[in-house]
Symmetry: C2
Subunit: 463 residues, 2 copies
């Protein structure tokens, strides 16, 4: 069996925890692993590591690769050069699998990377049921038995039994509340989980039949020498989901009920649903002091949040933005995100903490003419050899032992040591030792932007 992890996604609905450049799948919302890492570990229980492949947008590539290579061996990650929804993403993944594998009757499991599934055994047993139908030539979708009339999901209506699953009658768009209530009562409707399974050859056949445009563009790709997807071809792909492109049109669709727990964490209200509640129905995460609130979620990531007498309210605190939202309005968080994007406000785009292949940095303060960061460089890692045209930098070592190369000269610096990097000086910060390095960086200049960087050498291929 092969596995495809869809690791795109914009992260607009969980703002301000998720950002355009750090979407939901990269966050560790509920435990040590990010949702993406948990997804990988779930598949790795029954699919060999080398048979799992991920696809993601080019802007998330470094973060996705970094999160999926913690055990030393990296996962193959295909980069989507431009955002084109799930149909093209799945198509290139299947094409890549077929290029490197001769048996086109192999079964492929496609999973989103930003859902929560805790019961891996039940998940595996559902997948095994799906595998039987997939081997018989069906495009298998996995459906979740609705527990309430959710209006934020698409539904799939089933008819007769088919093996361990059902024949599919039709796909239904997000319903209004009354429709959703009626659907739930019938017992014939399932939530569309976004998990699919098929024989590679069957998917390609149905793609050719129902989305010939994607199929033809796919023909031009050649993964035999490189896994790179050319922008010029991918840009011409239609921006379309796999549901629209194939599933809703095919007559080879079967549905298998997903028997495990499942949450798509699609909004702050679904985060609320998935958290443990106190006797007043409240979920508090982080440093929270509450008096008399009810049925509310207070999510603190860094600072004290005090709540008094709230009802059905969601409060989310991050280092640079606060969200206060009535719980039944959490779908509108996307509107805030869109407003910020329109206003060119970076608060939609990045966090104060930004992850890099070598570690991460946190912006401590951005003032008039200066910017301070805490930089952590992980053991064995190295920032690119670089210079800046518009800023000088001043580093004070907080922890670990740093090697700094400045204008060709080496400096070994311990905690308490500092060094000045003048304007335009060629420099590099390296960690050749076993402990993480922490450095306070003070930047002075104008403009103070990440783009003011000239790279000369880079071990992560960013020159």
């Amino acid at each position: 069996m092969y596995g495809v992890i869809l690791a795109g996604g914009s992260g607009s609905r969980l703002w301000p925890m998720s950002r355009e450049l750090y979407p939901k799948q990269l966050l560790n919302m509920q435990n040590e692993d990010s949702l993406l890492q948990a997804t990988y570990k779930r598949l790795a229980k029954f699919i060999p590591h080398e048979n799992i492949i991920a696809t993601t947008g080019v802007k998330h590539l470094a973060n996705v690769k970094s999160q999926l290579s913690k055990d030393g061996k990296g996962l193959k990650v295909l980069s989507e050069p431009i955002s084109r929804n799930t149909a093209p993403a799945i198509a290139i993944a299947v094409k890549n699998i077929l290029t490197n594998n001769e048996d086109e009757d192999d079964v492929v499991l496609v999973v989103p990377s930003d859902h929560v599934i805790r019961d891996i055994e039940k998940f595996k047993s559902s997948v095994e049921k799906g595998e039987q139908l997939a081997k018989q030539g069906y495009l298998v979708t996995f459906g979740v038995q609705p527990s309430y009339p959710e209006t934020g999901y698409g539904y799939i209506k089933v008819s007769d039994a088919l093996g361990d699953g059902f024949k599919v009658d039709k796909f239904v768009e997000k319903p209004d509340y009354d429709e959703a209530e009626a659907y739930v009562k019938t017992g014939k409707y399932f939530w569309n989980s976004g998990i699919f399974m098929f024989r590679a050859s069957v998917f390609m056949g149905e793609l050719k039949k129902h989305s010939p445009e994607i199929f033809c563009l796919l023909e031009r790709l050649d993964f035999s020498k490189s896994d790179e997807v050319p922008y010029i071809e991918y840009e011409r792909m239609p921006n379309i989901s796999v549901d629209y492109a194939v599933m809703e049109k095919s007559d080879k669709i079967a549905l298998v009920k997903l028997e495990c727990d499942w949450s798509d964490l699609g909004s702050w209200s679904s985060i609320y649903e998935s958290e443990k509640k106190d006797e007043n129905g409240n979920a508090f995460v982080g440093h929270v002091i509450d008096i008399d609130s009810k049925n509310s979620l207070v999510y603190s990531s860094s600072k004290l949040c005090a709540s008094i007498g709230l009802e059905d309210t969601v409060i989310v605190e991050t280092e640079d933005a606060i969200l206060a939202c009535k719980k039944d309005r959490t779908q509108d968080v996307k509107k805030i995100y869109d407003i910020l994007k329109q206003q060119n406000d970076d608060t939609h785009l990045i966090h104060k903490t930004v992850f890099r292949p070598w570690g991460f940095y946190t912006v401590l303060n951005h003032g008039d003419g200066f910017l301070t960061k805490m930089i952590q460089v992980n053991p064995g890692q190295k920032l690119s050899v670089q210079s800046h045209n518009f800023r000088s930098e001043h580093w004070v070592i907080l922890a670990g032992t740093a090697k700094v190369v400045l204008e060709g000269k080496d400096y070994i610096l311990s905690p308490g040591n500092s060094i000045d990097i003048p304007l335009k000086a060629i420099h590099s910060l390296q960690n050749p030792y076993n402990e993480p390095i922490k450095v306070i960086e003070v930047q002075l200049g104008d403009p103070l932007i990440e783009e003011d960087i000239i790279r000369y050498e880079d071990m992560y291929g960013r020159v």
Copy 2:
């Protein structure tokens, strides 16, 4: 006429904007001046500068003096060595006035420092009416015509007219809602504004009669040589308000109606009342993006606050704490403050920005083994000559020109320059020039606490 500004106050009810060490009167809630500064300017319209005196707790002394000396000549500020409520505070102020002034028939106006009054002309005209009654030997209280049944204030019931005011029937404790509603209907009840006026001799006579304990302790104070109030005497004063100690017991009380606007900004809901509202009844301060909220206050001091669908809710964002509170529960903010105090959480005590006689500093980040600050030194100011036993410091100059004295040697540093201050080195940061200096300070060590400071010289008398 003499003026006494009561500048004590704990600032618990406007947490997190106010802190124990930076209470409400020091904040500029609505314009450039702090409430204290606005109070001084109000009195200075009709009382000579040298006849105005302030009293405050010792912990606020430096801030109060600093705020009241911006025009070059400082106001006399008496320091209460320990918190003992308004009766002892007013008593020492009146005693101080009498010591330095032979005419004990002079009239004294006593005002809190943390209320908002915008219409100075109407305020002055009310004071003039009070002055007539005060000269006739009355203890005059100023009452505010209630505009709604507030349960957070004390009320004063009047009877017959008396000059431009009324005879006082009785003082009433904070009522419940039904009582307050009945009071408002009668037209005979006023809110107690906390503003008083009397001849110094009359106040002293009534104090002697109704609070002989305070009067006797007062006799021991001698302001003829120094304005200092000895801890040993003041500590024995009863902790009692002037209402309890004198006003409610005296039969020489008159009430004059305060004809100006008045708000005590006693809670976040009264801040909401005093702000301008949009067509949905919302007040937004700072960087706020809102969708569909109603009758809510969102108060952002540093970060983006996004609000969606809130109703009758108060959100307050500060650098290190967030408050989210149903508007009718804002009196309970004091409970949060008390919980923090019990937990020894500094969030009740100080802000990330701390004002000093020489300028201010903002804590940017306090991590494991390090602390970063932005320090601003105002023109002509100088930090004490000092050393630290447990931390090294690293300064990067951001703006202005700094003079640093390190182990007896002078350094003149411009933006972009940096200097390391080793453990135990004697040093001083000075601004002999006309522009404010901004410095990023990186502290390394353990513990990193303000108390780790040995002062050798200090132009503000803190050695």
